[in-house]
């Protein structure tokens, strides 16, 4: 018996969230004396595939000729590869959210998304998941024999656990029921949902021309950039950067909010962050009630100082 993990690469490199998912599966496999079977879709070289064994994958199956955006086809592959598996693990990415529901129907398996707790008993799976836009945590139990879960990015650590592995490369080709005719890539180098540090700004920045310092601060920290809803609504920043209840929910280690008052809808998308820093001119801004650190001050004064201090530290 094995635990199946869907592994996802971006331009031939596995995502950090994929290693989190493999490590998550390894822990359950060790506890229940099972193997971890990783499934990779799309073009990727063997050295990258072998990295999966550093985190505990015993079997690595690579379908190099199938594209991951053929979610219908990918779901069929995962179903076929999971005959000896009663647990299929995904990281909660957009791609996974298009595949996991299909797999769950094919296997008559319960689907649990946004999982933030480990599985302690494979025979009787119950886990915690984020719900109500991070305003609540739901405990949920699987009633079916087989389960499909998607784990939240950044909720679990990546720990090396080298195992010997068996790599199989498959040449199957599959038709898709959608055609991809174009792609626009985000400008930022770091994926917002996977970033460990996020620098976010709101209307307090006064205009899109003032984002240079936000991007410079993000560069200093190796951070992704984000924004509040009003900023994306008026088009200062792309919608893909909007974090909050109707945008993305994120859970970085550090979230720095600059010129964002901290409305309940915004906090809902970010309050799973481990540490939050709020910088705002208004000492009554609600964000100061939710943050770990607060600075009352003008962003145009505080942010350059913060950049200087970080550069000093980076140089030491």
């Amino acid at each position: 018996m094995s635990i199946t993990v869907y592994t996802e690469n971006w331009k031939g490199k596995f995502r950090k969230s994929t290693f989190e998912a493999v490590c998550y599966a390894r822990k359950i496999a060790d506890m229940s004396n099972k193997e971890v079977k990783a499934i990779s879709i799309g073009e990727i070289d063997e050295n990258e595939l072998k990295k999966l064994s550093n985190y505990g994958a015993n079997t690595i199956i690579s379908y190099t000729k199938v594209k991951k955006n053929n979610e219908n086809g990918v779901a069929a592959i995962i179903k076929n590869e999971s005959e000896n598996s009663n647990l299929i693990i995904f990281s909660n990415t957009f791609n996974a959210k298009s595949i996991a529901p299909r797999v769950s129907v094919k296997l008559n398996a319960g689907l649990i998304t946004n999982v933030i707790s480990e599985i302690n008993d494979l025979e009787n799976i119950s886990v915690k998941r984020q719900s109500f836009s991070s305003k609540a945590i739901e405990s949920i139990r699987l009633k079916s024999n087989c389960g499909v879960i998607t784990i939240s990015p950044n909720a679990f650590s990546v720990v090396e656990n080298v195992v010997s592995s068996n790599l199989q490369v498959k040449e199957d080709e599959l038709n898709s029921n959608i055609s991809i005719i174009g792609k626009d890539e985000n400008k930022g180098k770091i994926s917002l949902s996977e970033a460990e540090v996020v620098v976010s700004a709101g209307r307090g920045l006064k205009g899109p021309e003032n984002w240079d310092m936000i991007e410079e601060l993000a560069d200093c920290l190796g951070a992704a950039t984000a924004c509040s809803k009003p900023v994306s609504d008026i088009g200062w920043r792309p919608h893909s950067e909007h974090v909050g209840q109707t945008g993305k929910a994120i859970a970085p280690n550090l979230y720095i909010a600059i010129g964002i008052s901290g409305a309940i809808q915004h906090l809902a998308g970010v309050n799973s962050s481990k540490i939050m820093v709020a910088i705002n001119t208004d000492p009554e801004a609600p964000f100061f009630k939710a943050a770990d650190y607060g600075v009352v001050g003008d962003a145009f004064n505080v942010v350059p100082k913060l950049i200087d201090e970080l550069k000093k530290n980076n140089n030491n």
């Binding site: 957009f94 529901p101 305003k135 009633k143 959608i178 550090l254 607060g294």
Partner: protein, 248 residues
């Protein structure tokens, strides 16, 4: 063109979230319910398609009688017909299965759902429907247009936007971008009056099969006091982040 919009009734985004009955049930007391924000983008898009192509727009929801004001609002915004499947939604699978069963008995060119509901956030219902009906599924969809039988779409992916073509019938999980926030339709008095006479069909659920079970809820642990740092002492903040909380 026949369009089905899936509507979920959710607490208003400003709601304080509480639970009752030993933290097993969501406390509806004092809560204002609204159309799920992601569904609202899809509903407005459907009304625009109705105006352009003389499409028929039906809305469907799964829930008890308490969700009816929310689907009446969808009728007031411009949908032609509403369907309520009379069942307390137990999980994504049972909800999706009921909607899929209804779709099998009726012909729709496109089913528009939200990419998730803002209460349970599972984001699973449209994907499960697509598999049951074996039709294309475009999730996190932020652009939709029709050219004859061909459908042009765009969707958010991890790292960008993808442009897609496919054919009807299909299902999407919609979000902002289908229409802009400023285009969202608000019911006017005439819409509210005519909504009273539009058909609202109630259908009994066909199954009680569900694959997961909610046990209880808890609220995230509350943060400690916010440590205030003087704007002229930013080195202290950097020191805290490097050496105390060690997040950078």
């Amino acid at each position: 063109m026949n369009i089905l919009v899936c509507i979920s009734s959710v607490p208003d985004t400003t709601s304080k979230i509480n639970f009752t009955e030993n933290n097993t049930k969501f406390d509806k007391n004092g809560i204002q319910f609204v159309i799920n924000p992601y569904d609202e983008f899809g509903l407005t898009k459907a009304i625009m398609l109705k105006e352009k192509f003389q499409a028929n727009v039906s809305v469907i929801t799964v829930g008890d009688a308490s969700v009816e004001p929310v689907i009446r609002k969808a009728l007031a915004i411009g949908a032609d017909k509403a369907v309520r499947i009379n069942m307390h939604p137990m999980d994504s699978f049972s909800t999706a299965n009921e909607i899929a069963n209804y779709v099998k008995q009726n012909n729709y060119d496109i089913i528009i759902a939200g990419k998730e509901s803002s209460d349970y956030n599972s984001g699973a219902v449209p994907g499960i429907i697509s598999e049951i009906l074996d039709i294309p599924f475009v999730n996190a969809c932020n652009g939709l247009s029709f050219e004859g039988e061909q459908v042009n779409l765009s969707r958010e992916i991890d790292g960008g936007i993808e442009k897609i073509q496919t054919k009807t019938p299909l299902i999407i999980g919609g979000q902002k971008g289908l229409v802009e926030e400023s285009e969202l339709k608000i019911p006017n008095m005439r819409g509210i009056m005519t909504a009273r006479t539009k058909p609202l069909e109630i259908i009994e659920a066909t199954t009680t099969n569900h694959l997961t079970e909610s046990i209880e809820f808890e609220k995230p642990s509350t943060k400690g006091e916010c440590k205030m740092i003087d704007e002229n002492n930013i080195s202290e903040l950097v020191n805290e982040l490097y050496n105390v909380t060690k997040v950078i």
